[in-house]
């Protein structure tokens, strides 16, 4: 989350950029390049694409800064430009594999109670966290999410932006943000559960 000081700093830099200051642009470049690159990389999982997107976004910031109106935060504007450029990239290589998010829930009986044991792997992930295998599984699961859910999940849970901010960036209501976030988390939880269950069975056999 941007702090109050960061917001104030952005405002000064934006004002200076509008007045043509290259120094201000350079500062924005230093401050935002990682955010732009990381968001784009997490959406495309492709270094070359994320690099292209980052360059596009920097150019757009430079060229369009005078059209930026201070109605929303500068950071929201940058995230929006980043997503637009990212979508353009994704569109050129449409993969459109259809994934259903509907089967992410556990089994319920007719009165809505769970009737299966739910394995709780939440405390046994520490040693696995930075293993390459776990990382790959997580990346792959996130990549499987449909775009709408993926972007909400990345902004909210990965980048750590507030629900309000995500709504502002994507022009969505708060309930819409939460519902996409929830669907994404349920789907990912299910995928990770398969992996950790299987992992535990594997290690028990050894």
């Amino acid at each position: 989350m941007p702090t109050q000081e960061e917001k104030a700093q952005d405002e000064i830099l934006v004002r200076d950029m509008k007045a043509g200051s290259m120094e201000a642009f350079n500062k924005i470049f230093e401050l935002y390049q990682r955010k732009i690159y990381a968001l784009s990389f997490n959406m495309t999982r492709n270094q070359m694409d994320a690099q292209d997107v980052t360059q596009d976004v920097l150019l757009t910031i430079y060229r369009k800064i005078n059209t930026f109106q201070e109605k929303s935060a500068f950071s929201s504007w940058v995230y929006r430009i980043t997503l637009n450029a990212t979508y353009m990239k994704l569109r050129t290589k449409k993969k459109d594999q259809y994934v259903s998010l509907d089967e992410s829930l556990p089994n319920f009986n007719h009165s809505g109670f769970q009737n299966e044991k739910i394995s709780n792997w939440s405390k046994s992930t520490d040693s696995l966290l930075f293993s390459n295998e776990t990382k790959k599984v997580i990346e792959k699961a996130v990549d499987l999410l449909p775009e709408k859910e993926k972007v909400v999940f990345i902004l909210r849970d990965v980048e750590g932006l507030s629900t309000e901010k995500v709504g502002d960036i994507l022009d969505l209501t708060i309930p819409a943000v939460k519902s996409r976030l929830h669907r994404a988390r349920l789907f990912l939880r299910k995928k990770l559960s398969h992996y950790f269950d299987e992992y535990q069975t594997r290690s028990a056999k050894q």
Binding site: M22, F25, N26, F29, Q33, R34, Y37, A38, F41, N42, Q47, A50, Q51, T54, Q55, L58, L59, Y62, L105, P106, F108, S111, G112, F113, Q114, E116, K117, I118, S119, N120, W121, S122, K123, T125, L129, T134, K135, I138, E139, V142, F153, I154, D157, V158, E159, G160, T163, K178, S179, L181, H182, R185, L186, L188, R189, L192, S193
Partner: protein, 79 residues
């Protein structure tokens, strides 16, 4: 008592802290009596944590960083 299905639907709001106190406490009452939902709740939360820890670690690789500096220099700063 609210059922497991309703519980799971409320999880996102529960973690956001946006449930009204009454609903939040009936959710917590449910958790006291329902180990499967506790497992679900903990793995739901852990899913976000794991993904964040794994994916926020994205840094710009040095060759890309080099290209970006070069790009800014030629296309913007020295235009």
């Amino acid at each position: 008592m609210i059922c497991c299905k309703e519980c799971i639907e409320l999880l996102c709001d529960y973690f956001e802290g946006t449930l009204d106190p009454e609903t939040a406490s009936s959710l917590e009452d449910h958790f006291k009596d329902c180990p499967p939902c506790v497992s679900f709740l903990e793995t739901y939360r852990q899913t976000s944590d794991l993904c964040r820890k794994t994916l926020t670690a994205v840094e710009i690789p040095e060759p890309v960083q080099e290209k970006l500096r070069e790009f800014v220099k030629t296309h913007i700063l020295n235009r």
